[in-house]
């Protein structure tokens, strides 16, 4: 074959490979969909984004080279064009070259990859700390420096729409599956340390705009950090399969200026004093039933079903159940401490004393259950205090 022909073929194949690469990597962006990793709003997310782009480009360039050679060969070296097969079967020089060059490329990649990793793992010098605990299927946030803590779960609108054949268009729900009842509120411009753990199974706390995810593992406390540059609302999701509602435990971070954040913390403290007062007063049966119905609908109904009929096999019925109509102490124990080896979580830390008392009162007197029992928030509070004391004595007496 003539030399010019080869050059033309190579150029044509190169153009075709570049066009195909562009079609796969860049063209889909024109549909208006997000197709690339977010740059995010922290120095970590920015460094992970640039690392991602560097490796992507290295791969794209190597790919274009390799595929151009390959398809040039496919065009030129075919029997139907009368090409006679060569007989060579190895070349030590070539093999050394394509071993050494990739090693050099890898070393070059390893340098920025190493420094990014070192930076991410250095959570020293943090100015505030938030403890994050994963539960099936909600998050608990504790501001260790502010004595604030709350539970954050999927918002009610998404929760309704996401039921099987709910008849509600997901598009009609704002931020479908990515909205929560209580967002995690954080100040900007501050190095925040996160202590991440879980209470039941493994979860993973991920907000792409912060640049990382960390597994939340029962019995372990993982560290991570972020320093958010811009105020805004950043959304994420649990990233580790954690059971049936894994897809329904989103994360929302609301980043605001220090002044706004301070105002928010004051409001939270005031609210929690209110709540304290609510726990300490005596509730009427009617109040408890009313509040209990709401707690049940938000918290219990997704497993035990709206009418307490349960969902076999994993989620037993409450209507007429031995627990919900039996001795009240055993019922309190299961709700507060969960049942090992089943999907029943321990609600002690997730729900307030008032919520637990109300839910217990409600389930013991609804769906045809007729115990007449009333469980007061104070009862739950005293059980909780005793359990806390017992735990402390055990720790002190342990060798």
């Amino acid at each position: 074959m003539k030399k010019e022909n080869t050059v033309i073929v190579v150029l044509a194949v190169l153009a075709a490979v570049i066009a195909a690469t562009w079609l796969m990597l860049a063209a889909p962006a024109m549909t208006g969909n997000e197709i690339n990793m977010t740059r995010g709003v922290t120095s970590l997310s920015e460094s992970h984004y640039s690392l991602h782009m560097v490796v992507l480009w290295v791969c794209v360039i190597i790919g274009i080279g390799v595929f151009t050679v390959m398809f040039t060969s496919i065009v030129l070296h075919r029997k139907s064009r009368g090409h006679k097969a060569a007989t060579f079967s190895h070349s030590t020089t070539a093999e050394i070259i394509w071993t050494v060059i990739p090693v050099l490329i890898l070393v070059a990649l390893a340098v920025p990859a190493t420094s990014a990793l070192i930076k991410m793992e250095d959570s020293s010098g943090a100015e505030m700390t938030v403890k994050i605990t994963g539960f099936q299927w909600r998050w608990k946030y504790e501001y260790l420096d502010h004595d604030i803590s709350f539970i954050s779960a999927l918002d009610a609108a998404s929760n309704q729409a996401r039921q099987l054949n709910s008849g509600i268009e997901p598009e009609s729900v704002e931020n479908y599956l990515l909205d929560v009842d209580h967002p995690l509120v954080l100040p900007i411009g501050k190095k925040i340390k996160f202590l991440i753990t879980a209470d039941d199974v493994i979860h993973s706390w991920w907000v792409p705009a912060l640049g990382w995810k960390r597994d939340a593992i029962p019995g372990f406390i993982n560290e991570a950090w972020a320093n958010i540059d811009e105020p805004g609302i950043y959304r994420g999701q649990c990233a580790e399969l954690c059971g049936k509602d894994h897809g329904f435990m989103p994360i929302v971070v609301e980043a605001m200026s220090q002044t706004d954040f301070d105002a928010w913390t004051r409001q939270q403290l005031a609210d929690s004093q209110d709540q304290q007062q609510q726990t300490e007063r005596l509730w009427t049966r009617q109040e408890l039933m009313q509040h209990g119905e709401a707690v049940y609908a938000n918290t219990c109904a997704s497993c035990h079903q709206p009418e307490g009929q349960g969902l076999t096999p994993a989620f037993p019925a409450l209507a007429g159940s031995k627990i919900a109509t039996g001795p009240v102490d055993a019922h309190i124990d299961i709700v507060m401490n969960g049942r090992a080896g089943t999907a029943m979580s321990a609600w002690r830390e997730i729900l307030s004393e008032t919520d637990i008392a109300a839910a217990l009162t409600y389930t013991r007197n609804a769906f045809g259950n007729d115990t007449g029992d009333v469980v007061q928030p104070l009862t739950i509070a005293s059980i909780k205090r005793q359990a806390g004391k017992r735990q402390n004595t055990e720790q002190e007496t342990a060798p």
Binding site: P28, N33, E34, I35, N36, H48, L51, H52, V55, V58, C59, F67, M70, S73, I74, R78, K79, H83, A85, T87, S89, H90, S91, W98, T99, P102, L106, A110, A113, L117, I118, E121, L164, N165, S166, I168, P170, D200, I202, S204, W206, G211, W212, K213, R214, D215, I217, P218, G219, F220, A239, E240, L241, K244, H246, G247, T312, P313, A314, G341
Partner: protein
């Protein structure tokens, strides 16, 4: 045939009359068989069946993900589908398919009359249908099938009901089968090679399987141990993985991935072998760099033991650990790159024709390389804190497994089926199968890269509407890819039962190696007298 001495030819001629030696009766022939070809056939039938079952589960998954909102199945059943799809595809489709080809080919390729341990071979196979029946039966149990993902991470998996015991025992049985199969393969390759078939004359498929078999023996007991600990944690109150009882949930992940990473090479190394057989045949040129191919395979196998924690970068390892596993993982791209470069050099200046096996082999090289690139990206630990557990990972491993392992299996099917059956398949339908598969596998999996980068986690049954477009495209690709595989089944059935075009012994003009010197189909007992292998017979230079 000039490579075989005259005495051997005489014996080969005797062997032609061996058709009569097949056992009489259906049960005798298939249930009690000790013949490597029949057992190979059984494995391949099981594998194709499992491929269809696992594929059907994938269709359910893609149908639910077709648009946002839950339309078809409850989340818990969705999780059972993703879990079972993976278990069935890994343990039921890909692994038995490779063992099936090993059974058929290794004795014919090394000049052995059968596998070294034929009765054990029977047992290795017949355990499997029972294991899979047991595994699938969990879907019909009150407590439902396993729904914690194929990785079976505790504590979540311990929330499975009694069906967990059936899953664990099924995995035990598959492990026993794999170990026995591997012992058989190693014993056959090391002891039963014909005179002159030195180790460095062996076909690449034999080499890759030898190394795969060692990997299997090394890691299947590890998996068995891990799932046994799950069993005792669940049913006998042990606390191996329960933090509240002094156990460690992360330890399971370390043990699982010590099995799991070599496992992914168990799925892909025989594919490397097949591609190294097919490309030289249709390029009419020897395999480039045979020696470095063997060493690259060995290196990959070694490295596969020291990279496991890259599956779990986000669990909170010490920095030094993360750095080690990052460097080791990046290193894998070097021997893998050598393989790709060698394949392209094999094609370079060849005299290529593009029959269906060659098309699938070329498709493999291109698409596996794309899967390799995303693998290199995932190796970069800091960036992995974004990629991890997203659809980017789903796209990555499906690229290396579907247009990787499964394309290689299809290439192997088209390449050797005429040898096995004596009939040619329909080239036209084979090519239609290739082109539709290649187009739709990309429509199916490429958009999943975008989904992952844009922030969609894996293993969720429902998603935010911002992910709707690419999920719909991916689902359409999935349905079309699934339907295309019915063509594959049709082509195979046609070739086996209906095809009128007889295959020659040589089948492919450029094919070299012992199996092609046998007639098509080969006699029931081949190489009852070992052939003498000379230099000319092997496709690669020494």
């Amino acid at each position: 045939m000039s490579d075989i001495t005259h005495t051997d030819l005489d014996h080969a001629a005797d062997a032609h009359d061996d058709h009569d030696h097949k056992p009489k009766g259906f049960l005798n022939r298939w249930l009690f068989t000790t013949n490597h070809k029949d057992i190979g056939t059984l494995y391949l039938i099981l594998s194709l069946t499992a491929f269809m079952v696992g594929g059907f589960m994938a269709m359910i998954i893609r149908a639910e993900l077709f648009m946002p909102g839950l339309q078809l199945v409850e989340p818990d059943f969705f999780n059972q589908m993703t879990t079972m799809h993976a278990l069935i595809m890994v343990f039921g489709a890909v692994m038995p398919a490779w063992v099936g080809f090993a059974n058929w080919l290794i004795p014919m390729m090394v000049g052995a009359p059968d596998m070294a341990l034929p009765r054990m071979n029977n047992w290795s196979f017949w355990i499997l249908p029972f294991a899979f029946t047991m595994l699938l039966s969990t879907l019909f149990m009150d407590s439902g099938g396993p729904a914690a993902g194929w990785t079976l991470y505790p504590p979540l998996v311990l929330q499975t009901g009694t069906s967990l015991a059936f899953v664990v025992f099924a995995i035990h049985m598959m492990g026993i089968s794999s170990i026995m199969g591997s012992i058989n393969i190693i014993a056959t390759i090391l002891n039963m090679r014909a005179p002159g078939m030195t180790l460095l004359r062996m076909p690449m498929f034999v080499w890759t399987w030898l190394i795969t078999a060692f990997l299997l023996i090394a890691v299947m007991p590890v998996l068995a141990g891990a799932v046994t600990m799950l069993l005792t944690d669940h049913f006998f109150s042990t606390n191996f993985f329960n933090a509240a009882g002094g156990g460690d949930p992360v330890m399971f992940q370390h043990i699982f991935w010590f099995f799991g990473h070599p496992e992914v090479y168990i799925l892909i190394l025989p594919a490397f072998g097949v591609i190294s057989e097919i490309l030289p045949t249709f390029s009419r040129k020897p395999l480039f760099g045979y020696g470095s191919m063997v060493y690259a395979t060995g290196t990959i196998a070694f490295l596969s033991f020291i990279v496991w924690a890259h599956h779990m970068f986000t669990v909170g390892m010490p920095l030094q650990g993360e750095l080690f596993f990052m460097y080791a993982t990046m290193l894998i791209s070097v021997p893998t790159g050598v393989k790709v470069f060698n394949w392209i050099s094999t094609m370079w200046k060849g005299s290529m024709t593009f029959e269906t096996p060659m098309l699938f082999a070329i498709g493999f090289v291109v698409l596996f390389t794309i899967g390799g690139f995303s693998g290199l990206m995932l190796a970069i630990t800091a960036a992995d804190f974004q990629y991890h557990d997203t659809y980017f990972v789903v796209a990555h491993f499906h690229y290396v497994l579907v247009p990787g392992s499964i394309f290689a299996l299809m290439a192997a099917t088209y390449y050797w089926l005429p040898k096995f059956t004596g009939n040619m398949y329909s080239e036209k339908w084979g090519k239609i199968h290739f082109w539709l598969s290649t187009i739709f596998v990309n429509v199916l999996f490429f958009p999943q890269h975008y989904l992952g980068l844009a922030g969609m986690p894996r293993r969720i049954p429902d998603y935010s509407p911002q992910f709707a477009d690419f999920n719909m495209i991916s689902s359409i690709g999935g349905f079309a890819f699934g339907a295309t595989q019915l063509i594959f089944v049709g082509v195979i059935l046609h070739c086996v039962f209906r095809s009128k075009v007889k295959a020659t012994g040589q089948v492919w003009e450029g094919a070299r190696g012992l199996e092609w010197t046998l007639p098509s189909p080969p006699p029931y007992h081949s190489w009852t007298t070992p052939p003498v292998v000379t230099h000319n017979l092997v496709r690669h230079a020494e």
